[in-house]
Symmetry: D4
């Protein structure tokens, strides 16, 4: 029963305002004590709730996943360490762990409906965990993904060699640490939306990714929007919305 | 003659590599001494070069605009003060000044090809200049725009009253200063891409927009990407790319 | 013997200034070498001294608690790890450990004198330790507390479902990490004092709670005051003063 | 007609949900184009909307004030320069300007209902504008105010000489720039809620008030909550809520 | 008489240690009261003292220039406004003002001894003042300079069209504001030392050049060293040392 | 009548506690409304109150000076612009303005009691205003001062030429902007206390003196203590205390 | 043989400049490969070199101590962990470890020559390690020390009870973490030099001592100079210089 | 086959543009999945790719080294822990580990072609790891290196004793932590390019090397360029380019 249904029942005199309020609460959240699971997210946001694994115990994660409503796409858990996965696997035998991405999916990865794809581009080898988090998220949401890894500007011919794949995407995610210049260079060469993800790869004045973030926010190339440091999930979430328009 | 044409002429032996290099330069840039105008941007990025008016003289702006190739959309100049516009108007009598947006267009604003629209949403009255920069940019690129102004979370019923307009957009730009919480609230209520623009409205620990920027980068709602402080142009540029997919 | 008593004894010629000074010192502090326990705090501040457990050894904590004067409310120790509690429990067999709050109380929790209550509201599951520190502190000081957990703005209907409980409080504590937007939204919906507590929950540009702090200091909603990051104790201390006015 | 009235009319079948939504909007906001005035704030927050004068033109301020509903307390405008007041005075002949506070009131200052008072305490002469903003705000909201100015810790006997006035208040506002130590000292001597306001008075590493803010957030004395730098209005708003409990 | 001469005179018994000390002072500094001109800099550093014009009066600048010893290269003054130049020109009729560089030279620019050259490369039009400061400094020190302006990465073909000039230099200065990515891209394409100069061109999170500085310090390309923001002079000083090895 | 006198009168029964409290207040402060002048500072701190001229009107400064008790040293006002001095001179005809120091003295500069002196050492010409503030302050407090200006480490022989004067001081003040390295070098060469004053001279990453401050706080040489940026007065205040031990 | 002796030998023709240079090096440093021990420090600075134990191995510390010249005061090593002391004790059987101070002395602590003393004052129990480092350093340099611990402003009567001891010192060291307000309060009550040491005690916006540092640099009380965070050694070094004037 | 060869083959009609593009990719990168090794770096930059060991597994490092083309200089791996070296040694038996530098070389260190040398100068013992990284890098690239260690300004005679070695270099690397003043002092005494490396040695307000970095960027001495904190490799890379000009 959606919010609109409830409000129409009120209008029809079938429900008092007080009862409607209680019902709204009951139908849209599952209160587990330690969490208040949002049951109407897919209806509201088009995507079901995703479990952020960091800072939750294995038991809590299992509890939340079991409280979630049926959904057409797999249930995704991000920022999940291998240790925590090992601990919760007995309770969720159907779960699949994506080690490079530190993610878990429960349910089959869907087949993309179209050939439109998201390109996930990285500057260096160390950016791979963030890139895989983005790629698995996008796949879990039903997107086709093309990975273009380790094409940073120190050897710019590596980027040009892969430019066709990048230019063919409907939306491009560029992931880079250190100085993050790759986002500007790619941004100047394509005509599609570009979501830039700074990573915490670097040392000294890199300030755990702050330098790459600032680079991306101040890019001289247009058409670049930015997410938080290491937030591969968030970039893929937005990219999926765009790719499925 | 595109880059590909030139390279194929090289392959056909009609052009030496050295001549090809010179031709590439000649066909794609206009060197004005003070500026090296990029003539291939529309081909590369799908959008012609936009003139950033801050830090250029009226004479320089006129020179750049006169050097630009014919284009189907109006030539847009951003961050242009009323004083500078008055100085360059005699040389560009067909130019139109959009005072609230601090922008100038040369050429007729195009009629949008579809009903798809970009919603431009602000938290408060003081965010209007940034919002208008975004709206005029989007219109100059051929988009339909819906303005939803002054619906910040201090009076959240104002937002709910306009929720249908916001939810109907293909992509939403949320513009807010102070603590920037509006982006998170809207992000939790829609199923479309959201581009957040922090503004420099505020005082004290607002740090000229840094607080709103940080809020938007750390939003608990997903699907939000962010641009630089006060960068209405950049948000509209990305939103236009998305709206026209 | 209060400070006033001592000064009046001086005026009465019963005490020399030098003797008065010594007596002031003796009656108001207990010098343990490693600590100079403040014996007049309840008289001065209305609340007895609270032991901050971080950075003190189990032995030091026992020593301070044993040096404290009789008091009507339980002796509260905050920021106490489970390990340290285990170490000092033999010396303080009557102590009770509140694990979720990382607090210890010695003495029975008092029954609140009135029905007035403090609402403790959190944005997410990870904010719980700070919330429990606030709740136990408030209860130790004799307040009635209502907990409203995990109602962050990403699923704002969860907040509206609990709005009656929040609006019924005499003072509200809002606890949030990440971007901390919940404080602004609640602040716009109530007519009671709101104390906001930023938590260090988040990553990247969250900067260990700095982003949530800045959000709360710059809220567009009025009536919000703020305490240090993760300072659940401090928020409850002020809230208790207000609730008991 | 309140929100509840509207919802009950829906339940009674006197109003369709769509009509209810429109009515909610119409009854609670006044859309001036440049502003979306919040008409239900007094009902929601207990205090009518206050006009923030900075960044609004004289014409806009007059427009907003004329659109506001009748209210029992004077309409308050803060951060209003003398120049702007001179410009709008002809349109609002009944307005009174409080120069030291940079505030304007329209309507008579109310007589406080009780003898409970708010103490406004400053460290130095330069903190006076912020203190007056706080004092006038509190008076406009119907509170009795006691001013205790220039009692900073460099000459701590000045503070002790006024301690009785401070200790007699129901809530204390401490305003200080430079290193802001006054808040900690007062906090250690009273048993009432203390709201600390850092000011931008200072130079060099004061960082426009950041040092005083950090001092107040990290106070070793308990019971202190903090507002944004120079935010005398915000402190008074919260203090008024507390004083009128 | 050099320092070595003086010390040898001491060894020869021709000078007492005390007299030597006085002589060292007399021969190597000119004390003007407001300044203590360093007369041995060319001997020590290979380059005579350069006058930093900011924060000195026209009279002080004239005084210092007149106190300087004869030198083979022109006397260079940097950071000199047009107004200040106009004020001191009567006293130094032979002085030449380089407006775009905000520099003044007294004495003829020398003819470079070799064809080795320094390439001065900029990302955008607004970086020109810093670039000209670098170029005039390098020329005043006797170097051949090639200017390559406005070849930022948003239109990277502009850079490739000028790559031969850049690769032909003995040392390259790259000057960029905003995100400063040009330094990384050039650094990946050349085999000569690269000195990067961040400029204060940009807005918002550019932080007056801090972003470009951080980008350059964290470049994924090797062989890049960096100077202070807007320090065209310093870059040219080091580049000249390298070019003349 | 000192505080001790008053307390002894209480002990003698000649004064009630209440009367004593009032008398303490009356004898030790002069309440001017805009300021609460501290009359017991010389008794408490050994030095009478000094007027900080910034942010006070000419009228306020005159009022405070006229309210101050007789004192053996001149009344010192710091941070006083030439304009403000011109405005208050008619009311204080005996006042002397020290332009380079931006200070005013009322009363004759005292003759130092001993030959012990404070050396005031600067790195560059632009540090002079801070140095003069320090020198005049020290002289107003009765100290002998030796000025050693413009001996920064870029021409370190200038420092060595003046080392005897510096080593002969009882306490040394080192004043430097830019990178502030002079403090470390002097600190490694002397056996007396060194007070370092960072100045706001510099640009770019100097951050208005922050770089020099950090340098001084982290000096590899021991025996260096530091004051706020540009705080020549504070350094001289401490140096005077030390010089007069 | 001092530097002066060597230079006079040159003047006397007994030494060539080259030989003098070699001799200067030989007589003033002991090159251990891993360290270049400074043998002339006592002659230059009045205090022999002190070993900074952090980041050196036990073997390195033993080597440096054995290379140091005879001295009248004990050899002091700071920042030495108990583990490292245990490792080096066999090689230095006469060494004494001061656990609370994390310092080691080799040689008997000297008897102070006078009754003049340094007061070491702390705000809280957690500041003790820094305080003990200061106290042991001062004692090792031959000073009498009075410890006044745990008298922070939250219970200001504790400070007043010890004021006589503090006021009797020739120089006062105030050590505080959290907001560091104790320095300002003590500074307003004494007439002797005060050296303030911020400590890294605190959490959240304390920023590892940055807040206390800023407080101390911006104190409204005069006569306060500051050292680096947790730098008890540095404060004692300066205080010793002052105490022994 | 170089890029030029390929392009000439295109011009000669021996290669289609598409085939040329594929060949460019194949000849210039080796795609290992986890890395995209840059095979044309020596041709482009004059120096073959160097392996950055941090954040790569032993297996990945071995894989990359085995994929690299033959080169005349040894293959250098930096930031390699002793543990990781032990793990990969069996697979690379010819590898040599330089423990103090945390570097590995595969292949014989070349004999320098000339007597020109790079001086590597440090302020203190703790700067040695960064210095050794610089020295081994320079040697691996075929340079003669002179080490001058532990000559910081606290004992400046140590520096003067080694000045001849420093002045004799063709390029000087100065490495310093804490306040980094050594760079300025050396810069004022030489006439060769100076590359400054800040190190993370220090505590408190050193901010992990930020203070030394700022010092070096703001040096009052000219001719200093700077690299990232602890970046000994980068300094040596640039110095090698300069030394081999």
């Amino acid at each position: 029963m959606t919010t609109l249904d409830i409000l129409q029942a009120v209008a029809a005199g079938q429900l008092t305002p007080t009862a409607a309020s209680a019902q709204l609460e009951a139908s849209q959240t599952a209160d587990l004590g330690f969490a208040n699971v949002d049951l109407s997210r897919q209806q509201r946001n088009g995507v079901p709730e995703v479990v952020y694994g960091a800072g939750k115990t294995a038991t809590q994660i299992v509890g939340i996943i079991q409280a979630m409503p049926k959904q057409t796409t797999p249930i995704l858990t991000t920022r999940l360490s291998a240790e925590k996965f090992a601990a919760l696997q007995p309770a969720l035998p159907q779960a699949v762990y994506h080690a490079a991405a530190r993610c878990m999916t429960v349910g089959t990865l869907p087949t993309p409906a179209t050939d439109d794809y998201i390109a996930v581009v990285t500057a260096g080898t160390s950016d791979q965990p963030v890139a895989e988090e983005a790629a698995i998220t996008a796949q879990a949401f039903g997107n086709h993904v093309e990975r273009v890894y380790d094409v940073g500007v120190a050897g710019i011919h590596r980027l040009f060699a892969k430019l066709d794949v990048i230019r063919g995407a409907k939306v491009v995610i560029v992931i880079a640490g250190m100085e993050g210049a790759l986002a500007s260079v790619v941004g100047g060469l394509i005509d599609k939306p570009l979501i830039a993800v700074p990573t915490s790869v670097g040392y000294g004045t890199n300030f755990q990714g702050m330098t790459a973030l600032l680079t991306m926010l101040n890019s001289c190339a247009s058409g670049i929007t930015v997410v938080n440091i290491d937030n591969g999930f968030g970039a893929a979430y937005s990219a999926s919305m765009i790719n499925q328009l």
